[in-house]
């Protein structure tokens, strides 16, 4: 027991590449550690991409199962995050392609709101309002644009990485992000001038 504990904590000090080498050798004991490192980002990406908590859960689970199954496809010098996001993005695109999943979207949009703090009640209202606005704005994007902006804005990936994930050129990523920003700007700024501005005016 203590040996395995020691081993588990030992995992924490290994790099992504080292962990993947262990997995590639057929030993899945780093699975939990890798999951802990990336599940949050994967889940959040999928959740925002698909607008559906249930599908995001499925995506997260399957991405990590695939990671184990296809560990050998991982190039030792690549960034694990990029590879995982490729798998995730593929999964999500497939998911959206299936017609019946599209129907479900609007039904299952779930948002987990942060626990309210009683010190700043209307900061919460404001945040909630903004959140909804952002969610709606993101929904107005095409899947390609949404993918690009999610990876750029929330995951901090470079255009080169995004290009790899999306399977397109860097130039295409640039255009997608730009178009996404144009649309977002239009929707979000229009919202603001529509009068919701009051929410932001409260410090």
């Amino acid at each position: 027991m203590s040996a395995s504990k020691g081993r588990e904590t030992g995992m924490k000090h290994l790099s992504d590449q080292e962990l993947m080498r262990i997995v590639q050798a057929g030993d899945y004991s780093p699975a939990s550690e890798i999951y802990d490192r990336y599940s949050g980002r994967i889940y959040n990406f999928a959740f925002r991409f698909l607008k559906n908590a249930e599908a995001a859960e499925d995506a997260t689970q399957e991405v990590f199962v695939k990671m184990l199954k296809h560990a050998n496809q991982f190039q030792g010098d690549a960034k694990l995050s990029t590879w995982l996001f490729s798998i995730t993005a593929n999964w999500c695109r497939d998911h959206l392609r299936k017609a019946d999943n599209k129907v479900k979207e609007s039904d299952d949009v779930l948002v987990q709101l942060p626990a309210p703090s009683d010190h700043a009640p209307d900061r919460n209202l404001e945040r909630r309002e903004n959140e909804q606005r952002v969610r709606r704005a993101l929904e107005a994007l095409t899947p390609e644009q949404r993918e690009a902006i999610l990876l750029s804005r929330y995951q901090g990936l470079s255009y080169a990485e995004i290009a790899q994930i999306a399977g397109c050129s860097e130039g295409a990523v640039k255009t997608r992000v730009f178009r996404a920003m144009e649309t977002l700007k239009k929707t979000l700024m229009a919202d603001m001038s529509g009068g919701d501005r009051c929410l932001n005016a409260v410090p």
Binding site: M1, A3, S4, R7, I22, A25, G26, D27, Y28, S29, A31, S32, Y35, S39, G40, Y43, N44, F47, R48, A53, E54, E57, T60, Q61, F64, V65, L68, K69, S106, D107, D108, V109, L110, V111, Q112, L113, P114, A115, P116, D118, R127, N130, E131, R133, V134, R135, I149, R153, Y154, G156, S158, Y159, K174, T175, F178, M181, L184, K185, L188, M189
Partner: protein, 345 residues
């Protein structure tokens, strides 16, 4: 104008600070001199920062449990597996774990610690060590650690035992018995290498732990709904209230994505338990109402939270408020949330 549009395309790159220094400088210079682009840049920045308002959501705990299970890596087994060979394919490897786990469980029973403290067991558990085992999957275990035969049936009094369920034995064929409805004793029978029946008062901790284990454990899926059903009947009596039972149900509700039927029963049973006001229960109900994909689970969670909200529980009230106003939620859930709120003084 074409310069402007080219620069605007670079604005997102400027935001992520990933533009090379020369282009960055040029772009900034342009923005300072070109009023139109200046406005665009401000809007761009504001949009970018507004996007940051989208909160990070937590991955539900069950996703990890599911992943580990789907990959054949039940978490506790992984930690036991440090000697497992490194070159085995995944889904076969699980067999080895399971085999190990089962063998471990058998050893534990043979050592007597599963029912440690048993001072009135009819006979020592090691008594029939020579009998070959007949449970599928365990038959490969060396006969030396197979202490008892399935053919045997033992009846134990819950009072006389102290189940220390650490080896996570693979319990199967679970049945609930209440042979004499007039006394307050209940019983549960099951197979772990041998056929056991444990009887006792529902208030007996040993029985409570056994029930909790059977409800939670994955390997007895077929019996889980039955276990929960029995718990509902036995533990909804306030005299038998036990927080451990409620906590087990809360755990199922939170973690068991695999079986919506089981989750439904868990939440249904939670609402009937008198001791369901614990922090764990409350958190599980709130999470279920917020994010369970099954609308019927959410309906039941609303009903259960209504009771908590009445006593002014702030988190419950807040969740109910959110649900009532969430326009993409099923109208019935919204109305139920509103009803629950209307009872608050």
């Amino acid at each position: 104008m074409s310069e402007c549009s080219a620069l605007r395309e670079s604005m997102p790159l400027l935001l992520t600070e990933s533009l090379d220094p020369v282009r960055r400088e040029l772009t900034h210079q342009h923005i300072e001199t070109c009023a139109v682009c200046g406005v665009e840049w401000e809007a761009c920045k504001e949009t970018w920062s507004l996007l940051g308002e989208l909160p990070e959501v937590d991955v539900p705990a069950r996703v990890k449990a599911n992943f580990m299970a789907a990959a054949g890596l039940a978490p506790q087994r992984v930690s036991e597996s440090n000697e497992a060979p490194a070159n085995v394919v995944p889904f076969q490897r699980r067999k080895a774990f399971r085999w190990l786990a089962q063998a471990a469980a058998v050893v534990v029973i043979a050592g007597g610690s599963y029912f440690a403290g048993s001072n009135r067991a009819p006979e020592p558990l090691q008594a029939r060590a020579e009998t070959p085992a007949s449970i599928t999957g365990v038959s490969m275990a060396p006969s030396a650690i197979m202490p008892v035969s399935l053919a045997e049936t033992r009846v134990l009094d819950a009072e006389s035992m102290n189940p220390d369920i650490e080896g996570r034995p693979n319990i199967s064929n679970v049945k609930f018995v209440d042979s004499d409805a007039s006394d307050d004793k209940i019983g549960v029978s099951f197979d772990v290498t041998s056929h056991w029946t444990v009887t006792g008062s529902p208030r007996d901790k040993s029985l409570v732990r056994l029930f909790s284990y059977m409800m939670e454990t994955e390997s007895t899926n077929t019996q889980r709904s039955g276990a929960i059903e029995s718990v509902r009947r036995m533990y909804s009596d306030p005299a038998n209230a036990d927080p451990e039972i409620a906590n087990s149900l809360a755990k199922i509700l939170r973690n068991d994505t695999q079986h919506e039927g089981v989750r439904l029963r868990a939440v249904e049973t939670l609402t009937t338990l008198p001791a369901s006001g614990s922090t764990e229960t409350r958190a599980a109900l709130i999470e279920a109402l917020k994010s369970d994909p099954n609308p019927s689970v959410r309906i039941k969670a609303v009903e259960a939270l209504a009771n908590l909200a009445r006593s002014g529980d702030a988190a419950a009230v807040d969740t109910l408020r959110q649900k009532a106003t969430q326009q993409d939620e099923n109208a019935y859930v919204r109305v139920k949330a509103a009803e629950a709120l209307s009872n608050i003084k």
